[in-house]
Symmetry: C2
Subunit: 323 residues, 2 copies
């Protein structure tokens, strides 16, 4: 009897005890398919990691893997199962999961060009789609997004560099519309410069998005340009790591000659020598927020965009005080 197992108040305590005891003895497990069919609910969330089709699929940004593990824990904590898929986002991801009753809601994770399907997302809003997305807020889907305050994060990084006396800060990261979150970081960077009475130099901004090798190449381009600079603000730790490798190869010392600050605080940031100073995004809090918001949406409540405060983690790659 379903009521007894689910602690319904409609059933007397004695009966409940008895049923539950016997269920335990028989190693009885509720059949999820049957329960799902009857209640039209799967008690399952789906996590879709969409990847930039340009990058090598076998390599995933550790930041997202960290998100993944925290999301899994967050879902489990709430007694929801988590379905994980790394597939290229299919045309009908929403129908595939929700309409088929495989998942009650969907979490979207990924950098890059989801702007290309923003219109699709907007369309889903008018239907009964339950999904949340990590990243920058897009017009039209504000309520579904959870993101880090990228503007504040960018400002934090550049303020730190300026505070250490750096004046010619290169920004390595894509600021086109393809990467709204990177763009916001750049705006924070510019704001920090402005506070210090400085103008951003367009020659010091290099587009880059992707794995470590992209950071390496972008830095090479920067060096080749001959522009003088004394610091690098990399839009992700992966890119920062590539930048450091490139600088070292060119005979430049970090932080002696060049300060480098990253973004994300992936674990590898700690292993570098010097350890990477970076702007930390709290993946555990982000995961909680994403899952909470999604469950609230499923429950029919309205929700708003949530912004997470980033924090600066000072390590060795910028010089100044070492920790």
């Amino acid at each position: 009897m379903s009521r007894a197992l689910r602690n319904s108040p409609l059933v007397s305590p004695e009966t409940r005890e008895k049923v539950q005891r016997i269920a335990r003895e028989l190693n009885y497990q509720v059949d999820r398919s049957a329960a799902g069919l009857r209640s039209q609910t799967s008690h399952t969330l789906a996590l879709l990691l969409f990847e930039d089709s340009t990058t090598d699929n076998s390599q995933i940004n550790p930041f997202f893997l960290s998100m993944l593990s925290n999301i899994s824990r967050a879902a489990n904590r709430r007694n929801f199962d988590l379905l994980v898929s790394f597939q290229q986002l299919s045309k009908d991801w929403h129908y595939e999961y929700e309409a088929s009753n495989r998942a009650d809601g969907i979490i979207l994770l990924g950098y890059g060009d989801y702007i290309s399907f923003t219109d699709k997302l907007a369309k889903l809003l008018s239907e009964d789609a339950h999904f949340v997305i990590w990243g920058a807020t897009q017009p039209g889907i504000e309520a579904h997004a959870v993101g880090c305050d990228n503007f504040a994060g960018g400002r934090l990084a550049s303020e730190h560099l300026l505070g250490l006396g750096r004046r010619r800060i290169a920004f390595i990261g894509d600021i086109t519309d393809r990467c709204p979150e990177f763009k916001r970081r750049y705006e924070g960077h510019v704001a920090a410069l402005a506070e210090a009475g400085l103008e951003p130099d367009p020659a010091l901004q290099i587009d880059a998005q992707g794995p470590e090798t992209v950071g390496f190449e972008a830095t090479q381009r920067l060096l080749d340009s001959g522009q003088p600079f004394d610091a690098i603000f990399a839009v992700s730790d992966l890119i920062a790591i590539g930048a450091v490798r490139c600088l070292n190869k060119a005979g430049l010392s970090v932080p002696g000659d060049i300060s480098v600050v990253g973004f994300d605080d992936i674990h590898a940031a700690r292993y570098l020598s010097p350890a990477l100073t970076t702007v930390r995004q709290d993946t555990s809090a982000a995961a909680d927020l994403l899952v909470d918001k999604l469950l609230r949406m499923i429950a029919g409540e309205e929700a708003r965009t949530d912004l997470l405060a980033p924090s600066l983690v000072v390590r060795g790659s910028c010089g100044g005080r070492e920790r």
Copy 2:
């Protein structure tokens, strides 16, 4: 009609076309709960990542995350969904997933003390449990395991070090029964020594298992012991990274003074300077093998232990030829 959609030969091509076209037009999706209930199958695999309870839960070995992403792709490629859980392994993980019809089979992933529940695994064998496990073969569950040939891997690493003229090779890694795979690597190491006419020195073996910090501490212990050594074979890349950091802190150069070789080939191995020479486990092939074996078991076929051949990836951390 189910038959038309599933391309059953019982239905005529014209009818099939027609049904499928209309289904597409209506955006029809098969209800997985109903299908699962009727067919008593979920078309879903569960991936259980059990963690050593001693380590900080928030940090997962990148090697397993790489396995995870490849397993997800492998499952999707076969049109199976993947349920992921990082929970501490519960007492009844098998019943929770299989008996409840949430998953058709289970993939177990994790280092360490699953020896503690080997007896439980053995018991499940007598029942209708469908599961595979990554790691060292345990007596009694051979048929369910997929693992790397750790003996060969250990030998590969030490042969490389010996070939570079190193003679006092420290082995950092737990060789107790808790970590059967590490033990096999040590045996491979010893075999390589024997080939070169050398005896293993027990003073050069330090127990260690876990994240980077554990490698750091173990190396510190090695240094404190005063034993001379000219190379380190670390049982995992994470430990190798900790070892390098410790050596550098002690003023020793890698590879100038000490050669270091790791195991796994996690992505971070590439980012180090010098980049880490390591024994690579092909996570993509491993994932394919795990999923294949599990699906075969579900289909009722018998399977045997699969061993994956490791390969040596030479980078800069051992000296000699640099790549």
